[in-house]
Amino acid sequence: MNKITPNLILRSTYIIIFLWFGYQQLVTAGMWVGYLPSWSGYFPIPGEMLVQLNGFAEIIAACFLIFNVYPRLIAGLLGLHLLMIAWTAGSAIGMRDFGLAMIGAALALNKSSQTSNVDFKI
């Protein structure tokens, strides 16, 4: 049985977070449209569709983490994603997302992996 390491805790946390956020964005996309930044208007995509696509992408990213495939790369990308959200949202929501982004940074920079010898390669 694998030991419960800090890396495992962080990765599991990220999995749960993005599975939940991704699911919420898929089923209640209308409630998340308000969080879209103004520059998203340059994309010729309706707001709810953009939210659902983002949510689905987050779920797929969580699946990558579940299978421990490119965990550092995926965690780094998710952290950057949260950093952009934190910058756009600001205030308390932005601060919370900044903290979540730092979890991703910790996972991305942590060279020790839970199981396999997956290297940080793009």
């Binding site: 208007g41 010729p44 995509i45 309706p46 990558f64 495939v69």
Partner: protein
């Protein structure tokens, strides 16, 4: 246990397929079809399962909206052409468009087509005011003055189209 590459390929394929489904089902014209079917089901007392609630059956089945229900919803198209193509073609008059003149439900007629701009208001790069002033109206003049010839704008509008303006 599948290897890393197999898992990656599988997840990427799932993402591509899922994105395609989201884009297809999320088109405003599909949402309008589903909402009209839901209204018809409630008003006629039919079970939801007996109605073509899924978009696959809505493709080309505009006759269900035009001829089936006895109680038409307030946003039902004036007339619906027999449709043999993939995209349903709803027709609206300016009075239908005028009934959606608020930011909560913003329709506009542009160059002969009717668009649902509700979700676009806060995302418009030029600010929400530019969209709000054409809610419930014919915005062809303002649109052409500002965006005439812009492919990016035209592509943004395509996904927002819900029907054709009936002259």
């Amino acid at each position: 246990m599948p290897n890393k590459n197999a898992i990656t390929v599988i997840l990427i394929i799932i993402f591509i397929i899922g994105s395609g489904i989201i884009i297809y089902r999320g088109r405003p014209i599909m949402q309008l079809n589903n909402s009209n079917n839901a209204i018809n089901a409630e008003s006629s007392g039919q079970a939801a399962a007996s109605l073509p609630a899924d978009e696959d059956q809505n493709l080309g089945d505009d006759d269900d909206l035009a001829a089936g229900s006895s109680a038409k919803p307030s946003i039902t198209p004036v007339s619906v052409s027999p449709n043999t193509q993939q995209t349903t073609d709803h027709f609206y008059t300016m009075s239908d468009v005028a009934g959606h003149a608020t930011p909560a439900s913003c329709w506009s007629a542009i160059n002969g087509s009717v668009y649902d701009l509700t979700t676009w208001i806060n995302r418009h790069p030029g600010g929400p005011e530019a969209i709000q002033i054409i809610c419930g109206k014919d915005g062809s003049g303002l649109f052409n003055n500002q965006h005439s010839g812009s492919k990016r704008t035209a592509s943004a509008l395509i996904l927002l189209k819900i029907g054709t303006l009936k002259s």
